[in-house]
Amino acid sequence: MSATGINWFKYSSPQALYPLAGRMIPWFAAFALALIGVGLYVGFFVAPTDVTQGDAYRIIFVHVPAAWMSMFLYVIMAIWAGLGLGLNARPSFMMAQAIAPTGAMFTFLALFTGSMWGKPTWGAWWVWDARLTSELILLFQYIGIILLRSSIDDLRRADRASAVLALVGVINVPIIYFSVRWWNTLHQGASVSITAAPTMAGTMVTAMLVMMFGFWMYSIAVTLARMRCVIVERERQPSWDKQASIPDVVEAR
């Protein structure tokens, strides 16, 4: 803590997190807007037309980053869940709670855009290929976590139970991926990967990475905003923190 000069534990109470989050949101939102704007421009106007797929392929600039984000966010959510269980820390559970809906949204976006890509490419609105099917199962996992939390009235049990489910689910994600690929390998093989040489034109890769960072900034902004809502909601029921009340939290801005 003191080694880095920042006392992290100062931020472990909701009263401190609320204003901190409030200050950070506009920055991330601005970055998100900028990056997504640039990414879309490059993807839709600058990148060359694909030889085989024509212009319909451009949906890939939304589909692939969305799919990456959906998996990335699940892992981040699981990390916060694990920290919450391990350290018994409220803010960690709140972060996990705030991330889940955004992750679900990206998963849905990936499925929707994947379907839109599939129609002109394979002629069907839905194909049971490995990647899309894995995304679908990931969506089920997100929904399961959100529904479990909303089914439990007791806050502490809801936090801990959904954290356990998130951790169990994160172990399942690679297993699903492997087993669904084992089951069917029809989807276009990964044409963008960090280690392999890109098989796509440079601008395409750039556009996708820019979009991914844009989505990342967006996720952070939205998660922080949602977390502020979670804080206000919880402080109306001061179960763990007896001193907090809404006026305090709002005034702390």
């Binding site: 009235d153 007791d154 029921q237 001061p238 179960s239 763990w240 007896k242």
Partner: protein, 242 residues
């Protein structure tokens, strides 16, 4: 009264109206017996949004009974469940022989017998089967004869022993649940409203059994509404406050 060895340690004691074939002695490490065997330090708890109690520090000495009193909803059950280790307190610690029970885990669970609100018995099994299983899972004596004696000690007559528990009355089911106290050789008993549903006869049997347990340097924590008929010098009261 009891017999004791040269060091003044209690060894055996006869209990109630039953003969000495029922176990009524403990074999916990007597060198560890100290006045501060079981204590809570600044314990606080809440349930959902409600703060139940805070800063409860109490010591239960060997040979004493702690009666936890308070109105309905004051947190007596939550307090007892914290003492069992089933519920995590908001703050404070519970110490057994000076060590935090959260660190002791199973070593601590082996020291206690808990009889909660729910009876913890299966309706489809007979009282004999239920008690045999609970005794077996507690590592206590569970042979047929001893189990029957324990059921008789709590006031259940022989014909009832082999009926499915589901046909018994509330009071009888409660007696089946409490019968494990006659087989328990554990030093700490945590009882949640044990006298509820009991008639006068059963109440007196239970009181006698508690008395015998206390006489053996056992400890009891009881959540209760009623007065317990025991010598005042071995009872302490705790009223839970916010």
């Amino acid at each position: 009264m009891g017999t004791s060895d040269g060091a003044g340690n209690r060894l055996t004691n006869s209990t109630t109206h039953e003969d000495s074939t029922l176990p009524c002695y403990f074999s916990f490490d007597l060198s560890g017996v100290s006045p501060n065997m079981f204590q809570t330090v600044a314990l606080s708890g809440s349930r959902g949004e409600r703060q139940l109690f805070s800063d409860v520090s109490v010591t239960v000495k060997p040979g004493t009974l702690l009666a936890v009193v308070g109105e309905n909803g004051s947190g007596k059950t939550s307090f007892l469940r914290m003492l069992c280790g089933l519920l995590s307190p908001d703050g404070g610690t519970i110490l057994w022989q000076g060590k935090d029970i959260r660190r002791l885990k199973e070593l601590y669970s082996a020291q206690l017998t808990y009889v909660g609100h729910l009876n913890g018995i299966k309706d489809e099994l007979t009282p004999v089967e239920n008690l045999t299983v609970s005794a077996c899972l507690a590592g206590d004596e569970s042979s047929g004869a001893i189990v029957q004696k324990a059921l008789e000690a709590v006031g259940l007559v022989r014909p009832v022993h082999r009926l499915p528990t589901r046909v018994l009355s509330q009071g009888q089911k409660r007696r089946v649940s409490l019968a494990r106290l006659w087989l328990s050789t554990r030093p700490l008993w945590l009882l949640d409203e044990p006298f509820a549903s009991l008639d006068a006869a059963a109440t007196s049997y239970l009181t006698q059994r508690l008395h015998a347990h206390l006489h053996n340097d056992g400890m009891v924590v009881v959540a209760t509404h009623q007065e317990i008929d025991l010598p005042p010098d071995c009872i302490q009261h705790l009223r839970l406050t916010r």
